[in-house]
Amino acid sequence: MTIYKGRGFACINYPIGMNLGGDPSQALVHSNPDGKFSVALSSIDLGQGMKSITRQIAAETLGVPVEDVYVDTADSDTGPHCMGSFASRGTHRVGNAVIQAAKEARAVMLEAAAEELEVNAADLETDGKGNIHVRGAPSRSITTAEASAAAQFKHGKTVAGRGIFLIPLSDVDPETGEMTPVSCYAHAALVVDVEVDDETGEVRVVQMNSAYEVGRALNPRLVEQQLVGGAWMGMSHALWETTEPYYPDRAHGPVDFNEYLMPGPGDIAPHDIAILERPAPDGPYGGKGPGEMCANPVLPAVANAVFNAVGVRVDELPITPEKVLRGIKANGGAQSQGTY
């Protein structure tokens, strides 16, 4: 038995959002009289952190502490329309809608503060800690709670805002495919190191090194969640997963988690990640959306690493031990392509 080491590389870009119907999302923001805000959406939190990231975007835009904002989603009676959570569109589309809504609400709050402080609203700024003060004169300040109360009880103003984000629909040319599919792209590159057992065809991922460009990491820990979990899923797609093990034959389709194979906690590989941020001009604070692209480079990188290790190109996913072993046997043995 020999364990062959191999290394593979892949890099990708990923389109954020869809070119369908303008791909709109809406948001409503309003405050209670004490300056505590609610964001109403109909967007879905599938675990990617929709509620959390829109909360941070709203807090940043409103200029209030994040504890002063809660996001409520998704109730069709109160949350305005959203296309849904897919296509890595949530952070980008919903985030932009929240910014627009929060800006409108902030403007009302600042107008009220300006009236109370007897200054021009354009001269006011928020400190993110619950205060509004005159730019350059921090002592001339009012709390966001006081400003909201004044708006609602003295000035008769609704501290609220509406937001929608829409990318104008782009036509698709039937002859050339010309179109504007999306507005920004995330990027990734990944190096995978594997070990291949030449007698069984088993592949073990031993290390991943990656660089992911996400526009801006609006919350670094949420980005990390996506990248770590997503790369795991990529590894899983590459080496384990299929609903039809003998595609296109339909036989032996798994019906439980024992037959539907995914890497277990004992299969995970160390993953060292670098996060790059090149803000998207139209992204919320430059954010793009790391949710989908994180898996994509792993699949080909693993395939390339297997080739590097034993000289077998498996072009049909998943790269099962069986396919690797068939390749090794067809070649008359493992053929290392050399170490990088």
């Binding site: 675990g47 979990g229 795991w232 899923m233 988690f257 277990g264 906690p265």
Partner: protein
């Protein structure tokens, strides 16, 4: 259909409920006595989302015939919160961002709780073994393993540069 009365303790409180004869414990916990913390993921014993402790040991509640639980002590994630405060394990999950969709989390917590109750200072391999019957589709397991090690005071943690 005949209903059978059974009594058991759930998170220390007495419960009495009528169950269908073939009904599983998961269904009785959720719909019978209203503890929604254990989750339905497969009803096959292959995902672990319904893990509860029976007399301190982890069981898959979807595979437990409810009527055999007469007189047993059942613990669920809903019972981890004591006097409004969270368990160190829950705190470690929060701190380590060890949940995304949160659906596997209650089962994962109970599997981890069973481990730490028996072995307060587990190795990484022991943690991996303890959660090996629980599937997480979101996190890639790493944050969960780190959270459990953290709760045991053995956090190697993530490196952040």
């Amino acid at each position: 259909m005949t209903k059978k009365p059974i009594q058991f303790k759930l998170n220390g409180a007495d419960k009495a409920v009528f169950v269908d004869e073939g009904q599983n414990l998961l269904d009785v916990l959720r719909r019978g006595v209203g503890d929604l913390s254990p989750k339905y993921g497969c009803a096959q014993g292959t995902c672990g989302a319904c893990t509860v402790l029976v007399d301190g040991e982890p069981y898959l509640s979807c595979l437990v015939l409810a009527q055999t639980m007469e007189g047993r002590q059942i613990s669920t994630t809903a019972g981890l919160v004591v006097d409004g405060g969270v368990d160190p394990l829950q705190e470690a999950f929060m701190e380590n961002f060890a949940a995304q969709c949160g659906f596997c989390t209650p089962g994962m917590l109970m599997a981890a709780k069973a481990l730490l109750d028996r072995n307060p200072k587990p190795s990484r391999e022991e943690v991996i073994e303890a959660i090996s019957g629980n599937i997480c589709r979101c996190t890639g397991y790493e944050p969960i393993i780190n959270a459990i090690l953290d709760a045991a005071g053995r956090g190697v943690g993530r490196r952040s540069a």
